[in-house]
Each structure stands twice: as structure tokens, then as C-alpha cells.
Subunit: 210 residues, 2 copies
């Protein structure tokens, strides 16, 4: 199983392009595939180096530990999530448009990068305490971006949401779980799932029909 | 980390009570904990026996392979899911009442048994081909139970659902992902999450206000 997640997306974002040099990027992609396939604890740095066609010694030039690889993957994934959600929250339009944009974009990312997203979501416990604290802080910021859109929609009379924190949690959870079930061989494209979910989320928040 | 999922629930359901004798049950509970903590591939039958306070030889009396343990866990989890959803689908009341009952009960199970549910959901790929086919068939039946409630609600004019298969997938996904984020130390009880989610799902299907 080799992930196809290295390829360029329509939006022009080149996954992992932030990782240089090339050898460090190849090792990160190999780590994502290995962690997704066998789990973090069953993967050795030797496995990762071997998947990248490199020696264990070459790996240690770029990453001191296996946990450093996981942290780098988790950090990049969480930075991307926060960027997607903040961009939508700060974007143009009313709360309904911004919420729909957030959901569309967040779902597309979790569908297109489902292998990476699974590692990011399911291996949090394997991070060391400091790294985990850093990632938890990023997750709180992502949560706050969505909560803000909901609160603004309620304030403007566009949404009817009795429980803003609980609904925020449900919206994010719905989007994140796309990474678990999404199948590139399935009937729906990332864009189609994004459209469906944007509609379902607007219903969840009782968005006023225009 | 030891799971608290062996304890009896308010409903009187004793988790794993279907597994006898006691030694086989203890090994299954140990396997759930080990798989959840380290992942299936990083866990050995020796680890599982040791967690259960037994010898590897004693384990082989009950389970021939590690995969047999995973299959047993997955089968019990999927049987329970189907039972919950079928009971709700076949229950009394209109589509909205039955859908709310399905979501409440399915969410409560995923919250209360989040450790088991994570293993059941995240380790499907580790099942052998025959076992995986059996589990996929059970998942289709669970999906069909929810799809049936939605279709009946649309038929009766109680729901407005443009995409019944897609919305079914989203409803199940929302409930299943509770297992990922639910925290027994968190602010919400399984019952509270079940109530919130039943309301959100009725909104997703455009349930007619009574």
C-alpha cells in the first residue's frame, strides 16, 4: 500500500512541500504510510528508512527519533486544519456562507488526505507530553474558529443553536471522521462529500433559508 | 491504563457476558486494552496473556491466533451495533422517534464503550479476508437499518432528505466518531451526548416540527 497523497491538488497546494530537503520529505511520507498501515508502535525507524529507500543512519540526519517524525506530521496536519478553518471564519459573507466554506474545505482535506489525517487523529497519544500540549493548543484554536462562526450566526439571528460548544464539537467530528470512511475507490469525490456535508451542517445549525 | 468497560451498565447489559468461560472473557478484555493502547500490530499474544495474568499456553486454549481475538471483539461490537440500530428501526412510533432512539442508543454505546469501539473501527484492515467479509456484511445491515428509517420518514412526509444514502452515512459517521473524542473525564455524559446528537440528527433530516 503506497499512499497517493504526495500528488499535487487542484488548489495548487503541494502536500509536504513545506518539508525540505527532499530526503526529509521522503522520510515523512514514508512515515505516514508506515504509521497508517501498521500503527505508530509497530513501526521502527528502520522500517521508515527502508520504505524511503534510505539507511537508518541517513534517517537520523533529519530526525532524531520516531516521535519527532510523528510530531512533524501532526504539526503540519494541525497547522493546515487551523489555516483552513481560520481562513473560512475570517472570510467574506454571512455566518452561513462562512460555515459552509469551512465545512467544504475541511471535508475536502480529510477526504483527499485521509491517510495522513488518520495518523494525525489516531496517534495523538503517542506524542510526548510537550508535543501533545502544543497540538492540543492548536486543536483548541481550530475549535474556537468554528465556535466563533456559530456564535456570530446566532448573534445575527441567522442560526438557531441551543448548544454552541456541543454543536461545534459535532460539526468538527463529522468532518474529521470523513478520514476514517473515505475511500478513493468509492462513489463520491472529496468535492461531493464537501457539498453534502456543508448542506447537512447548515441544517444542524438551523440556518435561515435565504 | 486499564479500561473501565467491564462494568455493568444501567441498562443491565454486561459487556462481554456472551464470552465464556471466564478465562476467555478476561483474555478478550485484555486484548481490547492492549490493541487500544499499542495497536493490533504492536501487540503480541504474550502481551495479552500477561495482561490477563495468564501464560501464553493458557491463551492458546481459547484462541488460536491474535487475529481470532480481534475477530471476536469485532464481531461482538458489530453484532451489538446492528442490534441497537435494528431495535430502533423496528421500534414503535414514527420515523422521527425511531431515528432519535437509534441515535441516542448508538451514541451512548460509542461513548460508554469508546475503547472497544476504537479497536472495532480502526483495526478492520487487520482482519483476515473471510472475517473482514463477514464484518463488512454486518456493517451493510447496520447501514440498511438507518437508511430504512430515513426512507420511511421521507415517504411519510416527515423528513426532507435529498440524499438518503449520503445522509445515512453522515448520521452513522457522526455517532461512530464519538468513540474517538469521548472522554470519561469530560463534561458530558454518554446520555447528554446522545440527547444532543438526536436533536442534531433530526435537524439534518429536516424533521417536521410537531
Amino acid at each position: 500500500m503506497h499512499s497517493a497523497e504526495e500528488t499535487e491538488e487542484p488548489g495548487g497546494y503541494q502536500p509536504w512541500s513545506e518539508v525540505t530537503p527532499d530526503a526529509a520529505r521522503r522520510l515523512l511520507v514514508a512515515a505516514v504510510d508506515a504509521f497508517a498501515e501498521r500503527g505508530y508502535h509497530a513501526t521502527t525507524t528502520r522500517d521508515i528508512a527502508s520504505r524511503a529507500g534510505m539507511s537508518p543512519a541517513a534517517l537520523y540526519i533529519h530526525y532524531r527519533t520516531k516521535e519527532e517524525l510523528l510530531h512533524r506530521i501532526s504539526r503540519i496536519g494541525h497547522d493546515k486544519a487551523l489555516e483552513i478553518l481560520s481562513t473560512a471564519a475570517d472570510g467574506p459573507g454571512g455566518a452561513a456562507e462562512r460555515l459552509a466554506a469551512a465545512v467544504r474545505s475541511f471535508v475536502r482535506w480529510h477526504a483527499a488526505h485521509h491517510t495522513t489525517a488518520r495518523v494525525v487523529q489516531y496517534e495523538l497519544e503517542a506524542l510526548g507530553p510537550e508535543h501533545r500540549a502544543e497540538i492540543v493548543a492548536l486543536r483548541r484554536e481550530s475549535d474556537a474558529a468554528v465556535r466563533r462562526i456559530l456564535a456570530e450566526g446566532v448573534e445575527a439571528g441567522d442560526f438557531d443553536v441551543p448548544d454552541v460548544p456541543g454543536t461545534t464539537l459535532a460539526v468538527l467530528s463529522l468532518c474529521i471522521d470523513v478520514a476514517r470512511w473515505f475511500n478513493t475507490a468509492g462513489r463520491r469525490s472529496p468535492e461531493e462529500v464537501g457539498e453534502l456535508y456543508a448542506d447537512l451542517v447548515l441544517r444542524m445549525v438551523g440556518a435561515r433559508q435565504k
